[in-house]
């Protein structure tokens, strides 16, 4: 991580693909630059004024102009398609991922592992396991960039963004903030530690013996009074949340939405926006009363009782 090199380390499943496309682009660049420069040099020398005192007319033809438009167009479209394919993969996490929550703030990264372990500016992950980051910011826009993985995603206040990757090589890698965020932007950096899975398990279990994110979220769920209305009793003022996460949710005031992190977040902070079908818009807003970290714990809890893990009783 700290030696001079002309090539970045490649340590994720994306890295090889991105590099291959990158070097194809380098080849295209070199080819066209050399071809045009060489032509310019040859013409400039061959037709220099002392040898060629009067120019001869040479007129462009439609065939020529179309040819040298269509060839670059085809190359560009091919590169587009390849790039779009990689981009789709980057934006399509597999079903089974290790979910880690990231909160950015001026000027640090706060990281919450599902098992409860928390860290700042360091990210420990297991090798060979797809990892999905769900990220938000407490203040301005940041961007979470791991060059060795070739992935990057902006981290915005007021919403969740995600990125996923699968590390292929153990080691230590740079983590940079790449969206300018104020005075100490260049110090909003950290280290990604890619470990063997069993080492990761040991690491994540060691140290602070605490609750998992979901357990902490469950405590908040009752502490904040959510359970008063969101309970299985018939006639409860809010929908029961077991088995909901990950399903499509019919609404009273709009088309159905996917019950995901973003929807959960919105429903806590701005409950009136998308009200579950059959319920009255009576829930108060928790805007300003709950930190981003605690929001993520609540979501971890609601997710833990969601469609994937629960029996799926009420999913519709």
């Amino acid at each position: 991580m700290s030696e001079f090199s002309l090539f970045p380390e490649s340590a994720s499943t994306f890295a090889g693909q991105v590099d291959l496309l990158f070097w194809l682009l380098v080849a295209v660049t070199v080819f066209f630059t050399m071809a045009i420069s060489t032509a310019v040099l040859i013409f400039a020398i061959k037709y220099r004024r002392s040898k060629s005192p009067v120019a001869e007319p040479a007129r462009s033809t439609l065939v020529l102009e179309v040819t040298w438009s269509v060839i670059p167009l085809c190359i560009a479209l091919f590169i587009f398609a390849w790039g779009a394919d990689i981009y789709m993969q980057m934006n399509t996490p597999p079903d089974e991922t290790l979910d880690i929550y990231i909160t950015g703030k001026q000027w640090m990264w706060k990281i919450q592992h599902p098992e409860g372990k928390r860290e700042i500016n360091d990210l420990h992950i297991p090798v060979g396991t797809p990892v999905k980051l769900t990220m938000t910011s407490e203040d301005t826009i940041h961007s979470f960039f791991i060059p060795a993985f070739r992935t990057k995603m902006d981290v915005l206040p007021g919403r969740y963004t995600t990125q996923w990757f699968e590390a292929t090589k153990t080691g230590e890698y740079h983590l940079f903030c790449t969206e300018y965020c104020g005075t100490k932007h260049s110090e909003m950096i950290g280290t990604v530690y890619v470990m063997e899975p069993d080492e990761y398990d040991a690491w994540v279990a060691g140290g602070v013996a605490g609750m998992t994110a979901a357990e902490a979220g469950e405590q908040l769920f009752s502490g904040l009074g959510c359970a008063t209305c969101h309970n299985p009793n018939s006639g409860a003022r809010g929908p029961h949340l077991v088995g909901r996460f990950g399903t499509r949710q019919a609404l009273d005031n709009g088309p159905a939405v996917l019950f995901d992190e973003e929807y959960t977040r919105e429903s806590i902070l701005n409950p009136q926006a998308k009200v579950t079908a059959g319920y009255k818009p009576v829930m108060p807003s928790f805007q300003g009363q709950i930190s981003e970290d605690n929001l993520m714990r609540l979501i971890a809890y609601i997710k833990s009782i969601g469609a994937d893990t629960a029996s799926g009783e009420e999913s519709e």
Binding site: M1, S2, S5, L6, F7, Q17, L21, L25, V28, T29, T33, I36, S37, A39, V40, F43, A44, Y47, R48, R49, S52, V54, A55, P57, A58, R59, S60, E65, W68, S69, P72, A76, L77, F80, W82, G83, A84, Y87, M88, M90, Q106, T140, S143, F145, P147, T151, K152, M153, D154, L156, G158, H174, F176, T178, E179, Y180, G182, T183, H185, S186
Partner: protein
């Protein structure tokens, strides 16, 4: 036009050197005659002086940035000062140098002359545009003197609206005001080109410089209002806490990026299209041959102007914008490469069977091509989704846009200065020094910015005050290059100024160029042409390209000329 009865006083500054010809420079004297002039040529000179000052101011900040980055620690400036330096460098260079550069200086000087007109359509608006520009410049400079601003020239919200200290609004107002000078200039060019062409000067007889300025003007009048609105909204949120961009107030930060880039991406074409227009003039003149594929070059300028408005989202592939929007913006950005490639191929083909000479302006034209090719092709890396995710907001981007905006745009600008300097001042500069400077700038430029491509690929983010040690070698190379580049930019300042006093007198047409501006004395009289010229031939009608042959060739595969 020698006069026998000179006014007393008018003769004082001019040593008797044969017959006195009245021209736009000596027709009136005194500061007032310049500050209240409505002569498009004098307004061009006013712009030249002003933007030169801004260029060296912005350049001085770049020197500061490069010195700080010579070492990985923050040992020269505090983080705050460094952030202000790169912000003000960007603001000054983009809004007060690059956007006005060629259009405001050479466009003003040449558009009326190239079309055989006496002046632009609205000479008073033209003067107003300079005052508006100076007012905006003064406001932004005041903000700088009072303490500066640290948002980056992109002013991303909610950092700029909520978290940044400093003179965000004052800087923004400066940019807002200056925008109107762009709008006035664009308006003037469009009306002038439509309504004031000399008899016989049909659209397809126009110099390509005019086509590129027409395309640029379209962007100026359509794009600039959007950045004005954006700055206004930013100020409203910052002052009155009305939620537009900051989610804490109920706003959307990505909306800011959409609005900002809707102008600021086309603004890149405001910077490069005029340079491309200059290129076409230089290549054809120094090949003594009609430019190859005239209509394709002309329409490619319009294509770039139109497509330029449809690609802003390629700045936002990792911003949380919809991935499908990302795909549309990616493919549209790819399309911009085509008209740019068409131009490069046609310029190259112009040399074929030409009669090429290597005078200084042509050396700058070669330099333009050498930098623009790299700048343009590396744009593909950033419009490709899969690679942009990695390269976005790294030094790769910094290198790419400097190759276009500094490499391309400034090489074109310098080419223009060297080409039309004899026309503007009536003096010839030192040819040897001019070629030498072109070489120094080219080498300095490559050394400064090429290592930054590698830095970006390695993952070094932009706008970093301190950085990991392994990036130092490449940063030192870049700083070393910057010192060469800086010296390279100073050399023309010296020999051009010297030429004003010691230069040989320029003939009306020192390059044997075609085009109406060369058919009037150097420097031209205030009214440009003794009598309105009548155009009877196609553009760039060099020896061997006579109309006779054209007509035959034209009737074979092109519609008859109007």
């Amino acid at each position: 036009m020698s006069s026998t009865t000179l006014e007393p006083g008018a003769v004082l500054d001019r040593p008797p050197r044969g017959s006195k010809r009245e021209n736009y420079l000596n027709v009136k004297h005194g500061l007032k005659s310049w500050l209240l002039t409505i002569d498009h040529k004098r307004i061009g000179i006013l712009y030249l002086i002003a933007i030169t000052l801004f260029f060296f101011l912005g350049g001085a900040m770049a020197v500061g940035i490069r010195l700080e980055l010579a070492s990985p620690q923050g040992d020269m400036f505090s983080a705050e000062t460094y952030n202000k330096l790169f912000t003000m460098h960007g603001v000054v260079m983009v809004f007060f140098f690059l956007i006005p550069s060629i259009p405001a200086v050479f466009g003003n000087f040449l558009v009326p002359m190239m079309i055989g007109a006496r002046d632009v359509a609205f000479p008073r608006l033209n003067l107003l545009s300079w005052y508006v520009y100076m007012t905006g410049g003064t406001l932004s400079l005041t903000a700088m003197v009072l303490g500066g601003v640290d948002t980056g020239w992109t002013f991303y919200a909610p950092y700029s609206t909520t978290y940044a200290n400093g003179w965000v609004i004052l800087t923004g107002v400066g940019i807002f005001v200056t925008g109107f000078s762009s709008i006035l200039t664009g308006l003037n060019f469009i009306v002038t080109i439509h309504k004031m062409r000399a008899p016989g000067l049909t659209w397809f007889r126009l110099p390509l410089f005019i086509w590129s300025h027409y395309a640029t003007s379209l962007i100026m009048i359509l794009g600039t209002p959007v950045v004005a609105i954006t700055i206004l909204l930013l100020a409203v949120e910052r002052l009155f806490h009305i939620g537009i961009f900051d989610p804490a107030l109920g706003g959307d930060p990505v909306l800011f990026q959409h609005l900002f880039w809707f102008y600021s991406h086309p603004a890149v074409y405001i910077m490069i299209l005029p340079s491309m227009g200059v290129m076409s003039e230089l290549v054809t003149c120094f090949s003594r041959k009609r430019v190859f594929g005239y209509k394709f070059i002309a329409f490619s300028s319009l294509a770039i102007a139109v497509l330029g408005f449809l690609v802003w989202g390629h700045h936002m592939f990792v911003s949380s914008q919809s991935i499908y929007a990302g795909m549309v913006f990616s493919v549209l950005s790819m399309l911009v490469a085509i008209p740019s490639a068409v131009k490069a191929f046609n310029w190259t083909a112009t040399l074929y069977k030409g009669s090429v000479s290597y005078q200084a302006p042509m050396i700058y034209a070669f330099g333009f091509l050498g930098l623009f090719l790299i700048g343009g092709l590396t744009g593909l890396f950033l419009s490709t989704l899969g690679t942009d995710v990695h390269l976005h907001d790294t030094y790769f981007v910094v290198a790419h846009f400097h190759f276009i905006m500094v490499g391309g745009a400034i090489m074109g600008y310098l080419g223009a200065i060297h080409f039309w300097w004899p026309k503007m001042t009536g003096r010839m500069y030192s040819e040897g020094w001019a070629r030498f400077a072109a070489l120094v700038i080219f080498i300095g430029f490559y050394l400064t910015f090429f290592p930054q491509f590698v830095l970006g690929y390695l993952g070094m983010p932009r706008r970093y005050h301190v950085y990991p040690e392994e990036f130092q070698i490449l940063n030192v190379l870049s700083t070393a290059g910057a010192s060469i580049l800086g010296a390279g930019y100073l050399i023309p300042m010296v020999y051009l100024l010297v030429s004003l006093f010691k230069g040989k007198k320029a003939s009306p047409n020192p390059w044997d160029a075609k085009g109406l501006e060369w058919q009037t004395p150097s420097p031209p009289p205030t009214e440009n042409f003794p009598s309105t010229p009548v155009v009877t031939e196609s553009p760039y009608n060099y020896p061997g390209m006579e109309d006779e042959r054209d007509r035959r060739a034209d009737s074979e595969h092109a519609p008859a000329r109007a």
